[in-house]
């Protein structure tokens, strides 16, 4: 890895250690279909906003550190401009994988049925925030990854390609790993907020 894109917004321990996790309880179940829709809207919106902010911050750090990169080609790639399509595409991928990582943190198939539905619905709803690429295509793309470590490597390479680094994408990909590895606190704050906020405030 050439760069360490530490983000000030998220910092925590690696995914394989014992960590504090927000565990939704039966009392957090949305009270009606309408209530669930509003909470999904809040959850997906806050996650999407956080994903775009985190990615933007990472790109700033990458650009500022470009002079430390070992080749002129890498330096030029790190300083490149990003089109809206490139940025939104990468943000969408980060957003979808965050929802998946949250589902994993919540115990995967062992979590409550209502929470599984909430996260499935949330994943599908990411298409309302950023239409393309579809959540379906993003999740299918990484469908063969069975370990978090492998998944993160694949996603980082994909994000790097989406950002338009071309032949330098593979070399710059590890720079985006912290956006996934250190996302737990931020993700769980978003989930906790969406499930515990008073209905009148939605």
């Amino acid at each position: 890895m050439y760069l360490n894109l530490e983000s000030k917004a998220v910092s925590e321990t690696p995914a394989t250690t014992i960590v504090p996790v927000f565990k939704p309880m039966p009392g957090h179940t949305p009270r009606s279909a309408k209530d669930r829709c509003k909470r999904i809207h809040r959850y997906v919106s806050s996650l999407a906003t956080a994903a775009s902010a985190q990615l933007k911050q990472a790109l700033f750090v990458l650009r500022n550190a470009s002079t430390e990169l070992p080749s002129p080609e890498l330096q030029a790639a790190a300083r490149k401009q990003y089109s809206q399509a490139e940025f939104l595409s990468a943000t969408k991928e980060l957003l979808c994988i965050w929802v998946h990582l949250e589902a994993v943190d919540q115990g995967g198939e062992t979590m409550s049925g209502w929470l599984i539905e909430f996260l499935q619905f949330s994943l599908a709803s990411t298409d309302f925030v950023i239409e393309q690429p579809s959540a379906q295509s993003i999740m299918e793309e990484h469908g063969d990854c069975t370990e978090t470590k492998v998944l993160i490597e694949h996603v980082c390479q994909s994000i790097s390609h989406r950002l338009g680094y071309g032949p330098m994408a593979k070399l710059l990909a590890p720079a985006f790993a912290p956006l996934l590895e250190k996302s737990r606190l931020l993700r769980q704050q978003a989930l906790r907020d969406a499930l515990t906020i008073d209905a009148a405030e939605l």
Binding site: T49, E140, H142, T146
Partner: protein
């Protein structure tokens, strides 16, 4: 006991008034949960109890797993309406 965030608030005026009437100083390091005034440290400990320590598995369900749910058309339209009403502005 689950303490929802919205249940925790600054001491209400009634509590402050009651303390004043009883000649007790109002402790700014307290929070009210329902009608009970509890120290902030206790409230914080209770909130943190909602974050139990769990072992995160190394092997995970694949990313296809969350795609398996059936979202009804009515639910899809309802949530679409929410996003039409208010869509987050993303940093670009």
């Amino acid at each position: 006991m689950v303490i929802m965030r919205d249940q925790i608030s600054e001491p209400k005026d009634k509590t402050k008034d009651a303390n004043d009437k009883a000649g007790q100083p109002t402790d700014l390091n307290t929070l009210s949960v329902g009608r009970t005034v509890i120290p902030a440290a206790v409230a914080a400990a209770r909130i943190m109890a909602q974050f139990p320590k769990v072992d995160i598995p190394i092997n995970t369900p694949t990313t296809r797993w969350l795609l398996q749910g059936d979202v009804s058309e009515a639910d899809r339209l309802a949530v679409a309406q929410e996003f039409r009403r208010s869509k987050p502005k993303l940093l670009v």
